[in-house]
Subunit: 208 residues, 2 copies
DNA sequence: CTCGAACGATACAGACCTGTCTATATCGAG
DNA sequence: CTCGATATAGACAGGTCTGTATCGTTCGAG
């Protein structure tokens, strides 16, 4: 349920000494890296496997050996994006010696950190939610998307219950709105100041 | 700049008396209606013109007479979505006899009205923003998307300047975050209560 | 050294994509 | 009635999509 990718992990079969520099990665990692960039930038439905295969410099059969279908590659892409996001969140809000108040506010520092990256093009899961509508196909992908939002909701809910147990229920979704809205507004405007401003708004909401 | 669609508007060439009921519309309107539903539900890139032509019961040449390319149809789709949204906003916030405070809060009633519709699948422009990344193609479509967000920002900014002129600048993007976040959270969770909760949050922010 | 697994290169199948073309039918205006 | 505009029906071109198949090569393990 957690790991979508394979476990065999050839990672470094040949080229024991790093050859050139760029293409020294194992084929599976080259494919995944290329897919990460292209899927995130252009959307999963606008990028075909042919392009990923060409730009990753891998044979088609090698691609299909590691990812039996495009849907599996999309799953691996979302799983990797989720993992980096969870690590970022843990880095900013994981210090349990801090107060829940500070930890929740630090979530907006994590947003700013993500947004300030020049390679930021919006939240991958909001974009994936837009590309996979209420169809019945690709249930695996849809499950990953919802799991991501559920995890964020759980974190916010637990922190809010420590801060303001009485108003936690009515504040969870507003905080989720503020978080997702930060990412959408940053994507639409290209600006980065929205994260800091929303952090102050969050502080006000918690300090009534 | 405003109108993307054609002006000729055949609308009712024949069938002066409404024939059956459903397919009594002019071909152009049938195509646009079908495209509205399919594009909004499945995303513009997942739906081909062949399907729109088939489901609208129109000949291919008729389609291409009214919409010289798929991009033009997407433009017409977004223009129509924007028009209905602007009408909804005007209906809820256009009463200038009310206070700017009440008008801005009414915007969240408009959101609730939109979300409560069983055919709600998220904000068409957030979804379009996700499907049209930072590419250089389709500049017309990208311009429409940004014009939509700019219009919302302008409205919020003008209302905020009347309510709290001193803090308007730092509140515009938080309010835009709250608005877009409302739509994303409603899409992701399927719930409708987020609109009301965010309205109360907005009230708190304006009543410090 | 030999065998087998992984990889590269490329051709191929069948479906779908956008957009064009031809031929025909209908209907209102002059 | 005739003409022109608009509609239908459907074939077609050229490209792209996902996924499979074929043929070598490379390289490490036994």
């Amino acid at each position: 349920m957690m790991h979508i990718g394979r476990m065999d992990a050839p990672v470094m079969s040949k080229t024991l000494s790093p050859n050139t520099a760029a293409d020294a990665l194992a084929p599976r990692e080259r494919v995944l890296q290329t897919a990460m960039n292209l899927f995130y930038k252009h959307g999963v439905h606008s990028v075909g496997v042919d392009r990923i295969i060409a730009e990753s410099g891998v044979a088609k059969m090698t691609f299909y050996r590691h990812f039996p279908s495009k849907a599996r590659l999309i799953s691996a892409y979302l799983a990797a994006k989720d993992e980096t996001w969870q690590q970022l969140v843990a880095r900013f809000t994981g210090d349990t010696s801090q107060s829940a108040f500070d930890r929740l506010l630090s979530l907006f520092d994590a947003l700013e950190f993500a947004i300030i990256d020049p390679g930021f093009y919006g939240c991958p899961f909001i974009k994936a939610l837009a590309e996979f509508g209420p169809e019945r196909d690709e249930p695996q992908v849809r499950a990953q998307i919802h799991a991501h939002f559920a995890a964020t909701e759980k974190l916010v809910n637990e922190l809010l219950k420590q801060i303001e147990p009485r108003n936690a229920k009515t504040l969870v979704q507003p905080f989720l709105s503020l978080i997702t809205g930060t990412l959408v507004v940053a994507q639409a405007t290209g600006g980065v100041e929205v994260a800091r401003q929303n952090k102050e708004v969050a502080r006000m909401l918690l300090s009534r």
